[in-house]
């Protein structure tokens, strides 16, 4: 697939000039996300996140396996991200781009490395049987800022997922189906949320123009970017600014504080959406315990 066509010079100067005067092509101010829409599916652990035109699906699935020999008492949790030509013609199956690697490393550091999910709670019988959780992230449409959308999707899916109840009697383990016992939520210690800043060089006053949640066009024009992962109680889980234009330390700190504030807003929004889905799920279909799948009307 040919490389993404270069942005034309006129477009480039127009957008940069607007940014320098604190204006954005889509009318947002520099420090705000596009509107985030979370829609849930039939089964637990599935969420479709829309951030403006960017759209990402995340699905959590669980299976019982033997634990890793060096981690007898811990369950396993892997995140797989794969960008296909559906998201944008630039991506090809089988040939991971630089964005692929950066994104999977970022999710790894933000969610797995910062122990958002307590893997010890996934242990059924130490050394023999543990839950192995897998988060599949599918990129449906790429209009910039895949990192933040993917992170929000995985965190929401984890919070939405329900693990079937397991009873252990002696050697044999019985996994109760969804209808026998109400499944139990995962134990999430904290909700790390990524906020990506894009730097567009200095305006007349000499200070750096930085914006949150850049669209694909803005991403093509930015001179540098930084991703800060924060949770709502002000702990910074990871920062990665890998190159790009040099930015004053003071500006980076300001961005980190701004990110902490923003994360509180996003955090509330996710909690709100989860509660709404819970209400809809219980009200809608009292035949939850009846035969067959839940049939909630759309």
């Amino acid at each position: 697939m040919p490389k993404e066509p270069e942005i034309s010079l006129t477009e480039k100067t127009f957008v940069l000039e607007a940014l320098k005067q604190n204006l954005r092509v889509d009318g947002r101010d520099l420090q705000s996300f596009r509107d985030i829409q979370l829609t849930f599916g039939d089964d637990y652990g599935f969420v479709d996140v829309r951030l403006g035109k960017t759209r990402v699906l995340a699905r959590i699935s669980a299976e019982v396996t033997k634990p890793r020999p060096d981690r007898q008492f811990e369950g396993m949790f892997t995140i797989t991200t794969e960008m296909g030509p559906m998201a944008s013609p630039v991506f090809e199956i089988g040939r991971p781009t630089e964005l692929d690697h950066t994104l999977s490393r970022l999710l790894e550091k933000s969610i797995r490395r910062s122990t958002a999910l307590d893997v010890e709670s996934l242990c059924i019988v130490t050394g023999k049987r543990v839950w192995s959780l897998r988060a599949d992230v599918h990129f449906l449409s790429h209009d910039g800022n895949l990192t933040d959308t993917a992170c929000i999707a995985v965190i929401t899916a984890l919070a939405h997922f329900r693990l079937p109840v397991v009873t252990v009697s002696g050697e044999d383990i019985t996994i109760h189906s969804v209808t026998e016992r109400v499944p139990v939520p995962l134990s999430l210690l904290h909700w790390p949320i990524c906020v990506t800043f894009s730097f567009f060089g200095e305006d007349e006053g000499g200070d750096m123009v930085c914006a949150i949640d850049a669209t694909a066009q803005e991403e093509a024009l930015r001179m540098g970017d930084m991703t800060v992962t924060v949770n709502k109680n002000g702990e910074v889980c990871q920062i990665s600014k890998s190159g790009g234009v040099a930015v004053e330390a003071e500006v980076l700190m300001r961005c980190a504080r701004l990110a902490a504030g923003k994360v509180k807003v996003v955090d509330k929004l996710i909690a709100e959406a989860l509660r709404e889905d819970e209400v809809r799920r219980n009200k809608g279909n009292l035949d939850w315990l009846k035969e067959g799948k839940s049939e909630n009307e759309r």
Partner: protein, 245 residues
Amino acid sequence: MEGLRNDGRRWNELRRIHCQLSTSSTNADGSSYIEQGFTKVLCNVTGPAEPSNRQRVKQDSATVSCEVYFAAFSGTDRIKRGRNDKKVQELQTAIQKTFSSIILTHLFARSEITISIHILSQDGGTLAACINAATLALIDAGIPMTDYVCACTAGQSTSIFDNEGASPDPWLDVNYLEESDIPSLTVATVGDSEKIVALSMENKVRIEALEAMIAVGISGCARVRGIMDKEVRRYGKEKLEAEGE
């Protein structure tokens, strides 16, 4: 432990840095070798040269590409890190993007500058050592850059605020033991200014402690620049004296 770290350094003491330019001058335009404590990195730079594959050619500027090779014996666990190992890819992207904004790439349109880094031994601060080695190799190759890029690591000894909120005391230039034990970050600045080119932190830290760590990191970078600058001048003087006769 009255203020001394496990290898006997005070909180603001850099590990011993030994750096050297044009170590392998025949097969590379510029080369360098750096030792920061026991982290040893060798770097070769070739370019600006004919780009190897066609689609990476940019019309108005040079493309900076980077390859990082971990020696199997470099770490404590003997693992062979292949080409698409995530850690290798991340390091390569970080170095490539860092130097793309520092090198005056507009002077060499449609050509490629390749930085190849060989990590001989890892004892913490691997990314920092790679960036410093790359800076020296680029200078040795005579590739114009706006300024040195110096990198340094900083850690934070009391990871959680102790109850009476004592301010966290950050450590400078953490080694492997400290890096795996306390939260630490790598910061790379342009010369000895306060402008940060690269910043990477992988563990959890309170936002208040972050500022102290970055400040210490930046001061560390300024001192690293001093040491590297001294070596470049010594190497230059030696070269000029030979020619001067």
